[in-house]
Subunit: 199 residues, 2 copies
DNA sequence: TAATTAATTGTCACTTATGGCAATAAACTA
DNA sequence: TAGTTTATTGCCATAAGTGACAATTAATTA
């Protein structure tokens, strides 16, 4: 008997607009006016669907973190078919059709805001750790003979390079930077195959 | 005959407080109230010394960029005495007494704001390129036999890892991450000494 | 001591951002 | 068609942020 609920759909749309604004203006720069304009709705609708400002931040954090976790799982599944660390890097850096830099930019914006929202610290750390663990497990499977410390270092390094590439996107970086970043990830991966285990 | 000018000193103090706030709250979260409180002065003094909001942003950008450039030069000079890429990494990641993560956090905050302040794009890119070039030149001097593409990749990688370490500081990251990041930089450096020039 | 210049503060107007709620419109069902 | 629930909008109160300027205080020198 009630009017059909748009809650799921509208919430998604508004969260996506919120994500866009946070990636572009930072967390405190993502005002309700901007979000509403980006989503193409009136401002009171934000409150109707996502609640007040703090609730909106929590909703965004949940969205970003769960999307990040999902991406980790999806990437992990894709990497299950690969045989060399270099293939892993190639997959991460070239198969970017599905990859959206807004998520990592928003992740960083939320990380900065942890000082004011301490409860977000653990989930944010956990989501990054999940990504790292996925890389570690994949590398450990591909190169079982490699020492754990090296596996972890390579995983951390590839992750950092992956994140760094997204961080630069608002600047419109020179194409060479991206190529060099990918090549750096390749070099890191190659240290696992050419067994040079001298610290 | 006039009262002595505090302009240089006060401007420095206020810019430092501004830097602190931008690193902590992002560019749009660094309100004049917070900056004034951080600097321990009344709000109108910000305007007196640094001008209006846009002028303050420009002043901060100049400050961050010139500090970054200076750091590049200083680090470049320190690296002039080293003989191996591993020493370079050790110097960058352990000799951090003088290194202040606020600068790179503010640099990233300014980079995000380039969408609204397009004139900052080139100076920001140039300052990062200066850092990269310094690393490239140092590596090229230490390992002259290495191919340019590999030099550039290692420089880009070490730079990304260096930046990444600072990006995580607001989160209070686990100590292992920092160690792994440094180890990843070490692995990258080591690819220049063990000559494995297979892509 | 008087003059000069800058530092510092108080205060106002204007804009932007947020919270909240009442009222209306729309879709569905009994 | 009437009733019910939700979507959607308009509106207002309050707070926060910024710009601007007048007034006051302080330090220096002639």
């Amino acid at each position: 008997m009630p009017r059909p609920s748009m809650k799921d759909q509208r919430s998604e749309e508004i969260l996506d607009a919120y994500l866009t604004c946070v990636a572009r203006f930072g967390l405190e720069g993502a005002t309700q006016e901007r979000i509403a304009a980006e989503a193409g709705v009136k401002r009171p609708l934000l409150r109707h669907y996502l609640g007040n400002k703090d609730q909106m931040i929590d909703a965004l954090a949940d969205h970003v973190i769960s999307s990040f976790d999902l991406a980790s799982d999806v990437i992990g599944a894709e990497l299950a078919a690969l045989d060399t660390p270099q293939d892993l890097v190639a997959m991460l850096f070239t198969d970017r059709g599905a990859h959206d830099p807004r998520y990592l930019l928003a992740w960083q914006a939320l990380a900065i805001a942890v000082a004011d929202h301490p409860h977000m610290r653990e989930p944010l750390l956990a989501s990054m750790q999940r990504f790292l663990t996925m890389l570690q497990n994949t590398l450990a499977r591909i190169v079982p003979s490699a020492p754990t410390v090296q596996i972890n270092a390579v995983a951390q390094g590839i992750s950092a390079l992956f994140i760094n590439a997204d961080s630069f996107t608002p600047l419109g970086p020179p194409a060479a930077w991206r190529a060099e970043t990918q090549e750096a990830a390749m070099l890191l991966a190659s240290t696992l195959t050419s067994h040079t285990s001298e610290a």
